[in-house]
């Protein structure tokens, strides 16, 4: 399989959020604003690429039976190293993305890709897969948080860390706070998944109906 195909796989065909339904917990938690969504997506992409690369490199020396605990140790170590390095060398970036790093540890996309892909494939393919999955995760977060932020706060792209108040789309009396709380996360995710399934089924059944 070509590198390009491995990369594109994560964007739509096997989008981690909409297709594989992985990492639902961080998805629900951070898709409250586009700014948070992009931050989490970028941090997760970086960790995915790194952990896929490491797991792919050591895949031949790790015995089959204990591979899962090994991956957990490797991923946890890598995430902590990234966290420390960011705090030490790029404090400004750490201030913005730092809160997402601990959340990545509980993101099962990372472990799932290590197990399903990187443990069986060559280094470059694994890196391409990490990139694709990461960008796919970021795209999904942006879609969900765009809907939730607009309906919940009436404003999109608000970025308090950069002193940007956001673009106002809805008047205050039309916004409903529930959309940025947990129930709104489930409602948005459910409706989006339903829409995507409906669209893909319609497409796969061909033009027989229309």
């Amino acid at each position: 399989m070509s590198l390009r195909k491995d990369f594109a796989n994560g964007l739509l065909a096997e989008n981690p959020t909409f297709r594989l339904l992985l990492g639902m917990c961080p998805t629900l938690a951070v898709s409250t604003s586009v700014f948070n969504g992009i931050g989490m997506g970028l941090a997760a992409t970086f960790v995915l690429v790194g952990s896929n690369a490491i797991v792919s490199l050591v895949r031949s020396i790790i015995p089959e039976k204990i591979r899962i605990p090994c991956y957990v140790v490797i991923i946890a170590t890598f995430v902590t190293v990234v966290d420390l390095a960011m705090a030490g060398f790029t404090p400004a970036l750490h201030q913005t993305l730092g809160i997402f790093i601990p959340l990545i540890v509980v993101n099962c996309i990372i472990l799932a890709r290590a197990e399903a892909f990187a443990s069986k494939r060559a280094l470059l393919n694994s890196i391409a897969d990490g990139f694709g999955m990461g960008i796919g995760f970021t795209l999904a977060l942006v879609v969900l948080s765009l809907i939730r932020e607009m309906l919940g706060t009436g404003v999109v792209f608000a970025a308090p860390d950069f002193n940007f108040a956001g673009v106002k789309l809805l008047a205050d009396e039309y916004r409903s706070v529930i959309m940025i709380l947990a129930p709104g996360g489930f409602i948005t995710l459910g409706c989006t998944l339903g829409l995507i399934n409906w669209l893909s089924r319609r497409r796969s059944s061909g033009g027989s109906k229309s």
Partner: protein, 202 residues
């Protein structure tokens, strides 16, 4: 049996390597992280007490006030030309965890500035308390009694839908003000009533 030992040894080796990598990274970044945190704190202190750029940590807070300091965690005495004020760090419990904030109080006992350093409130709701529109309300206030949100009979406008977060920030400010008054009564603050206390040192 032999397999069990072999697998344990391999897993053990991987853990040891991880521990080595982690400790190496930790010692490599420890100083830088401490410096960055110290710089961040200094910036925050200078922001809540404008015109002051020299602060001295007050070490003995718990003992001096018999341990009852509310949500206040650290106190910095302003020194230099216009000394007598304090900047204090407080961490009142909000809706999603402690809200870390710094509060500056001028020597006349009026709040000069309030800044939220870190919080984990609900995005879009509780996070509104970090904005100047909310924190600006505290400036110039000097009596802890009036520092309550309107729902509790005070005069602070709580953020709509975020009464718990607003209440927490308000309690943080009033705790700092309370600590200021008690330190002032003890005479540990430079200037004002503390001139006698200063002479006693050495």
């Amino acid at each position: 049996m032999r397999d069990t030992i072999r697998l344990s040894v391999i897993l053990g080796i991987i853990c040891v390597i991880s521990a080595l990598v982690l400790s190496g990274m930790y010692s490599l970044t420890r100083d830088r992280i401490e410096q960055a945190n110290a710089r961040k704190l200094e910036e925050a202190l200078a922001q809540v007490l404008p015109g002051q750029n020299s602060f001295k940590a007050f070490e003995d807070l718990g003992n001096a006030l018999n341990g009852s300091v509310g949500s206040v965690t650290e106190v910095y005495l302003a020194s230099g030309d216009d000394s007598g004020g304090i900047a204090a760090k407080a961490a009142p419990a909000g809706y999603g965890g402690p809200i870390e904030m710094v509060v500056g109080i001028a020597r006349d006992g009026a709040v000069r500035g309030v800044r939220i350093i870190s919080q984990s409130e609900t995005p879009g709701l509780g996070t509104e308390v970090t904005r100047d529109a909310f924190t600006g309300q505290f400036e110039g206030r000097s009596t802890p009694e009036s520092l309550k949100v309107k729902q509790d009979g005070g005069s602070i406008d709580a953020v709509t839908g975020a009464t718990i977060s607003s209440r927490a920030v308000t309690r943080g400010v009033s705790d700092v003000l309370d600590v200021f008054h008690r330190l002032s009564a003890l005479g540990v603050l430079a200037g004002g009533s503390s001139s006698a206390g200063e002479e006693e040192q050495n």
